[in-house]
Point group: C2
């Protein structure tokens, strides 16, 4: 009798993980099981004898032990064994204060073989260095590297590698697209959320050593005793991971919480207030990093309210923290309320003359480009323009203008484009950061982290956190390799999966630039929330908050003339750089409309008329997303079903949005160009009025 | 040579789960591994042959299959096998439309033995009933029950078992303490977050069959076409789980989004607008549940703005949804802006006269008590007072007044206290709900769910969601048993752990009442956010929003006289009930100050003077928390380290808060009683002024 038909459940193969097993919370620290048998055997062997000193005495060493234990259990399904005999350990963690090959934070990992036994030594000058070495070792294992030949020396060149959280006291996040702030001030200091630990752990694993936990649009309440106790609790949690905490300082705090009548940086009561406040903070947090300040910018108070310079303000605060080795990071993101000057010129104009006037413990933090984190900007002309001042490069990891958390955009190619930009014939931006004349060096990233289970909203968003950290540690890594590292640690060991996701990621940045702002277009997003296209926007009070200010479309053409015949912003760059951009016929076309007002009929280098090329670029962006979708589909059987479905849905949103951008922008620009879409070009689904009628009062990240 | 000392890692034993393995996301559906060998063998045997019809055709059946697959893999580490031969299946899912033992949503599970083979039959009248049966079967297995003897029949007596989410369009949650709203309206309808599915799944597992996804303080935008598409996407996701979606309806929507000049329920244009709107909704969502309405309450618009009654308003909306079998749930939580009447009397006064005037598809939703979700209230006098009107009991699961998400408070004893309250000599509140004269019956719970990884903030908070659902299904279950079920499914199979957590949970409600509002005190929390004690509060515009209105302390005594000599609110109850409470010397002391203004020297039933008893009660609450701490500590080695630590930290906050409540309240009341603390009583750490100076501008749940 064959009336009993049992069929196995095919679907089961793809649901080997339950519920949140694949929820992204573990980031790149999932320590997935090693399937390669010989590798596993070797890993097992070396994990059978680990020498780690001072576990009971040192909190950082304790963390190393914990991390090794987790990783071992998960990757090789065995608990590691620890030994107190350093001579016979197969993994030896050694502090070597005199080592000249590494710097204070650096580490080395070296394989050895002796009497047919093999193992590795991890060395550093201190415990945090060993922690970095531990994470590097585990990364190598996650990358399935053979530990018999490992030989690495690595030291970060930038001393300050920090995240900036634009997180508010009520847990909203300015430009946050991944839920609320992970910092729950209400339950601090008594409740240390596990997230704080996992956050610090993730940062340490990529070498981030500082975090500003409060919004640059600052709230003075954070400097009150009650809140400082909360900050101290976080600092205590972060310390073993080698992470210093910083706060944003509201310049008018002496008035708001200090009962003073002024915040004038030259006023003696104000000077004393900040000095006392600094002492109060350092009494609680001896290794407090210092202050990050946004002053006289977009409504924030600052020294100019009292006719003082940015240097006056920064130096006053710097003096307050100097006795405790604190620093002040002063943001160069300023533009005047009054001056009718091209906005991209203003930071340079304001800050260049101040070079040499800042105290030694002041750094000036400069956004990657001169405007505001656009999909593509030329590098900021201030880089290299203040040789006496340590400069910090500020990237925006959170995708304010880059599709927020529904678009897959891998940012490392953008980071690299800026870092590798020549500021003159011999120097790149990265050289300015690394080979500063100054003792302090640094890089900042505006965090894309929130309370979403997977931290960053889009499942691929965490790659940008990862890439930022890796580049902060070593700006010479390449974007492609970083992507591979992240994928292999996060998604799969399968070559096809790795290749496919890597291709998707590597194409994503250019795709996004093309469907949003090709050929040098910029700031044509929706007002306020910056969600979606709004090139027609011209209703905001400030001229330079409006899209029409930036693209200047008219019947002749489109683009902002920043050449010598226009605002001459180009003059802020070195002649070597000017030569690349100054002439519209030779200008690097990715910045064409950034520097030039271009005729609709301008002949492009490829021979296309400009209008046609603009249309083609938009459509290439759209087709690029279609390609990403196909590639993603091709690995559907090879990765977790839920995660796959999640990204699939998001790619569909991204495609819809790309089409929306293309059709809305082209129809709008067409009202000026009066030119037809190229032959065979896809027709828009709606007319311009429809796109102009769309309204997103509750788009996220906008404080509503 | 013994210079090689290898020591195993003790700590490792407690870290067998990695990172988010114990993060609470899985709720009570963790399906923990069965360790009992014979049980496991039997479970394995019966999972080797499951008969489930129409998997390809029916979405709910598909879910059953998925759930069985997960559960089997996790509990017994084997994939289940499915068969198409119903005669030889060891688990048989059978639809039996004619079965008279169960109702439309009920299910039965019955063990059978035949020829030394055993198995179970799960039967129901439809697919959703089978889903309920599936979850009941899996619950029994999680409870390690022997399936050889299982024999259960279960049918819910209440037809509407729903959650009310007070979630706003911008993802804030009014009275939410577990992060932001899980409903991300910005990415809907295109992005179906896995959370929506897991939310529906959790609800279905406890029998919840309806959800109101929008705040009762309603936003008319949810009724616009754009948002209705988003609601439809949720409805589609919830449907296979047997969950209907409802919306709150803003009464003035015809003006705000309909361009009408009035929202008068008797105006023909208004009537047509709602009828058209209902049709529009049902075209998208054929099984749309209906509307929940808060009208003419705390600033919300309503029919009284047009001199119409609540019945006029409700009936107009009910007529709009009636053609589609929709319902309107009208909230009785109203109190006038003008009337100087005792606030707790107003809902009764307003609604009782309307009994019989509502359309058949209108239900009136009544909070458990007559005031506002206080730690303890007598049952609402409207229960049973409107025999012609279906009444819905509304509980608040979210702990607005109950310590928010930092206090461990298991609410089932409170739910039970209300359900089991006699409304007269023969009937209880539960009888009013179950044996209504009306076709419709229901119960609602204001959700405590948010975007926190563990859904409910406090790790024990999810027990309240669970308990609400279980009691909604069967109000006759007891709190203790429900606690046990939840613990066993969530925390451990270990008897000691189960017993200990159960004891903690079962004591928690009374403890909280004692350290916050013992002996009938009520509404003495901080203004607005309701966080912490503020019995001195008297600065709000409305008299009946101020704590002093509720406790009425003076040199004679304390308490609100609601007896015949006072506001006579007691007259709203049946004489049988009045007898228990009307006389201060015999009144059930848990409601003493609710109904009476009591002398500081009043002699309590135990012989203590009232003032001393008040002091003792507060301190018993504090000591109760201390006991909870000790009990929790005693199981530290038996449960996940991270989870244990989390609750441990929260219990410390709870203890600090309990002490704060005790010391602040007693010192304040002492300014009236002028009596000393009892001998040996713990001295407060601060003076009254200190407590009065505390200020929590960013307490959560308050829309700031």
């Amino acid at each position: 009798m064959k009336n009993k038909i049992i069929y196995t459940i095919l679907i089961f193969l793809t649901i080997t993980k339950f519920s949140n097993a694949s929820d992204g919370y573990d980031l790149w620290l999932g320590y997935h099981k090693i399937n390669n048998a010989s590798l596993k055997t070797n890993y097992k062997k070396i994990f059978s004898s680990i020498y780690l000193k001072d576990v009971q005495k040192n909190a950082t060493i304790k963390l190393i032990k914990k991390e090794l234990t987790w990783a071992s259990k998960l990757m090789i399904e065995a608990a590691p064994l620890f030994t107190t005999d350093s001579n016979n350990a197969s993994i030896l963690f050694r502090i070597d204060e005199q080592n000249k090959d590494i710097n204070e934070e650096g580490y080395g990992i070296k394989a050895w073989t002796k009497n047919s036994k093999n193992g590795v030594v991890v060395y550093a000058k201190n415990e945090v260095g060993l922690l970095y070495g531990c994470f590097a070792l585990l990364r190598a294992m996650q990358m399935q590297e053979d530990l018999k030949t490992i030989n690495t020396i690595s030291s970060p060149t930038l001393k300050i590698r920090m995240l900036n959280h634009w997180d508010n006291i009520n847990r909203t996040i300015e430009r946050g697209y991944a839920g609320n702030s992970i910092f729950n001030w209400h339950t601090l200091p008594d409740y240390i959320d596990k997230r704080y630990i996992d956050y610090a752990r993730a940062n340490a694993s990529i070498g981030i050593n500082g975090t500003v936990v409060t919004n640059v649009n600052a709230n003075a309440l954070f400097l009150t005793p009650e809140y400082l106790l909360k900050v101290k609790a976080l600092a205590d949690a972060f310390r073993p991971f080698g992470i210093k905490i910083y706060l944003t300082a509201r310049f008018s705090a002496p008035i708001e919480i200090g009962n003073l009548k002024t915040a004038d940086p030259l006023d003696s009561a104000v000077i004393k207030w900040w000095a006392d406040k600094a002492k109060e903070i350092y009494d609680l947090i001896p290794d407090f990093g210092g202050f990050l300040v946004k002053a006289n910018s977009e409504g924030q108070p600052g020294p100019q309210n009292y006719d003082r310079t940015h240097a006056d303000g920064a130096n006053m605060m710097a003096a307050a923290v100097a006795p405790f080795k604190g620093i002040v990071i002063w943001r160069a993101f300023v533009y005047s309320n009054e001056t009718p000057e091209d906005r991209v010129k203003q930071a340079y104009n304001e800050f260049k003359p101040l070079d040499g006037k800042f105290s030694k413990n002041v750094l000036v933090q400069i956004k990657n480009g001169p405007l505001d984190f656009q999909p593509r900007e030329p590098f900021h002309p201030l880089f290299g323009a203040m040789p006496k001042t340590p400069e910090v490069l500020e990237f925006q990891i959170t995708q304010e203008y880059l599709g927020q958390s529904t678009h897959l955009v891998y940012e490392a190619p953008m980071f690299k484009e800026i870092l590798e930009s020549n500021i003159n014939a011999t120097q790149k931006v990265v050289d300015v950061l690394e080979h500063s004349n100054n003792e302090l060096t640094g890089i900042s990233g505006v965090a894309n982290i929130g309370s979403d289970i997977n931290w960053c909203g889009h499942p691929v968003g965490q790659a940008n956190w990862y890439a930022f950290g890796r580049l902060a540690w070593n700006p010479h890594l390449n974007a492609n390799e970083i992507a591979k590292e992240w994928i292999q640690q996060t998604w799969s060991h399968d070559e096809k999966v790795i290749d496919t996701i890597q291709q998707i990621m590597m194409a994503s940045y250019e795709n996004m630039v093309k469907y949003m702002t090709p050929l040098g277009l910029h700031h044509i997003m929706g007002n306020g929330h910056h969600y979606g296209p709004m090139p027609w926007g011209n209703t905001l009070n400030r001229e330079d908050w409006n899209p029409v200010y930036y693209h200047k479309s008219d019947s002749y053409g489109v683009g902002f003339n920043r050449s010598i015949s226009g605002s001459n912003a180009i003059a802020q760059y070195d002649p070597f750089v000017q030569n690349k951009w100054k002439d519209s016929s030779t200008c690097d076309e990715k910045f064409l409309l950034w520097f030039h007002h271009i005729s609709w009929k301008h002949k492009m280098k490829n021979g296309n008329p400009f209008w046609d090329e603009l249309c083609y670029q938009y459509n290439e962006g759209v087709n690029g997303v279609r390609k990403m979708q196909k590639q993603w589909q091709s690995i559907s059987m090879h990765i977790d079903e839920d995660q796959h479905h999640q990204v699939k849905q998001l790619l569909q949103i991204q495609l819809n949005d790309a089409i929306w951008w293309r059709d809305a922008c082209l129809q709008y620009f067409q009202t000026f160009s009066k030119l037809p879409l190229p032959k065979g070009y896809p027709l828009p689904a709606h007319d311009l009025k429809y796109y102009q009628s769309l309204n997103f009062p509750f788009a996220p990240g906008n404080g509503k």
